[in-house]
């Protein structure tokens, strides 16, 4: 009986610790739940030829993703972000590339808005 009491106490303590660990993880990375809420922005360009997301959107790239995505693998990108259905290939000459001016500022802002 006393041994069982100790085991129950340990199990309850362990369960509470797991619960608090999950709370911590959710504070740090709530994205697990954002995925199901469908709040991830659509990709405004086709994926063909653009599978290496980090080339343009890595932390040190020209159009960086949000710092919260640091450490995530490329496979994670398309889990949440899908190509937009309204993407018009004809508007950008069929190349499927978001146009950028010499400084790249205008289009960086546009991309950042869609990714935030």
């Amino acid at each position: 009986m006393r041994e069982k009491y100790s085991i129950y106490l340990a199990l309850v303590t362990g369960a509470l610790i797991v619960f608090l660990a999950v709370i911590f993880a959710w504070i740090q990375s709530p994205d697990l739940f954002e995925v199901t809420a469908g709040s991830a922005d659509a990709i405004p360009h086709p994926l063909e030829g653009y599978r290496e997301c980090e080339t343009c959107h890595g932390v040190k790239a020209d159009i960086p993703y949000t710092i919260r995505h640091l450490g995530w693998s490329i496979k994670s990108c398309t889990r949440c972000h899908a190509p937009s259905d309204t993407h018009d290939e004809a508007a950008d000459g069929g190349a499927g590339i978001v146009s950028m001016d010499a400084s790249g500022v205008q289009d960086q802002k546009m991309v950042k808005r869609t990714h935030q």
């Binding site: 199990l11 303590t13 362990g14 610790i17 797991v18 608090l20 740090q28 990375s29 640091l70």
Partner: protein
Amino acid sequence: MKHVVYGVFWIGIYLLITTAPIFVLLIGPGHPGRGFWREVSVALGFAGLAMIGIQFFLTGRFRAMTLPYGIDVVYHFHRAISLIAFVFIFLHPVILILSYPGTVMLLNPATAPWAMSAGLYSMLAFLVVIGTSIYRLALKLSYEVWRVIHTVAAVAAVALACVHLLGVNYYVEGPAKRGLWMAMAVGWILPLGYVRLVKPLMMRRRPYVVDSVTRERGDAWSLTLRPEGHDGMQFAPGQFAWITIGKSPFAVREHPISFSSSAMRKDQVTFTIKELGDFTSTIGGVVPGSCAYLDGPHGSFTVDRHAAVGFVLLAGGVGITPMMSMVRTLSDRKDRRPLWLFYGTTTVDEATFREELEVLEKGMNLRVIYVVSRPPNGWEGERGYISAEIMARYLPENRLGFEYFICGSQVMQQSAKVALEMLGIPLDQVQSESFNFV
């Protein structure tokens, strides 16, 4: 009520110490999250490490901590929570690998960064701790050898885990957080130093001398110790102490044995030990005049903690030892409350203290009922094992007002509890102690 309050207090402290490090990580410059499952893995790793560290406190025999629960409950909790801590530590790399399969390369010590290898070795050291504890008898490890392995491997596991987390250096950057973790690591080892160094030094100043070693019925020996140069030990009837026999209190060879003498006697203490294992079988060879040291008293298995109108003692085999302390103490106190002793024994000849119990029965309000599993021819007393039917024949109608104490083998304790339940005795009026740890 006081013990319930203290009990809740200590559980709260435990949760605070194991989970506060997780949330301290969030203080300071923001650390970007790296994915939900990765963060769950990290949190379990930190919590698991904190849980291992606190294990040193649980076995430090601090009375303030053990009194609310009973030291046996604390030791059983130590066992159970260590398995849970190991599951957390094991899940730490498993979740990482399942979420990011590329990280499996970090398990190869030949190519992995040193911080990762330290984590791997820490987990292996912890596996040694767990494995040798669960399978001590199967591995044929003596208690003393097991104890050394247990201590060394546990210290190695904690040290290597700290090397791992400081080497990975995520969430613990900066002198404040690193200092916190190093201070925690040192703090965890302190109870070990207290038990293995400070306490033996204190015991060395309170030595005992073996006065006599007396053969008792039932392959048992009564070891009587006399305090030398001090007043002896104040204990409650039913408690126990860790005994070390020999020249040094630093010896690893110490064992928990119940007092069998009256708590009212200050000039000497007696322990009655049945020949059962590697240590107890050597008791008969102890020479009077030998030095001995006691760490105690410990335990909450005592009549002094319960105000009841009467007591019922259920003893099986060597379980008679703490009961004898209770009976002798109540006799010396001239306590007139009714006392029943149901003594389960294999044969009548093996009933330890039989003659003394006959004398005590005449001098106090005590009734001794022997329950003999192999009765001799012509035996008119109770047969078999202590059962509800047997107890119902002797206990009065107001038995719900009594406090019940059980001491014996695991099987005997379990069957006695079932029997008491059948008699309608509430379990919170049933006391027992279980010392089958390793």
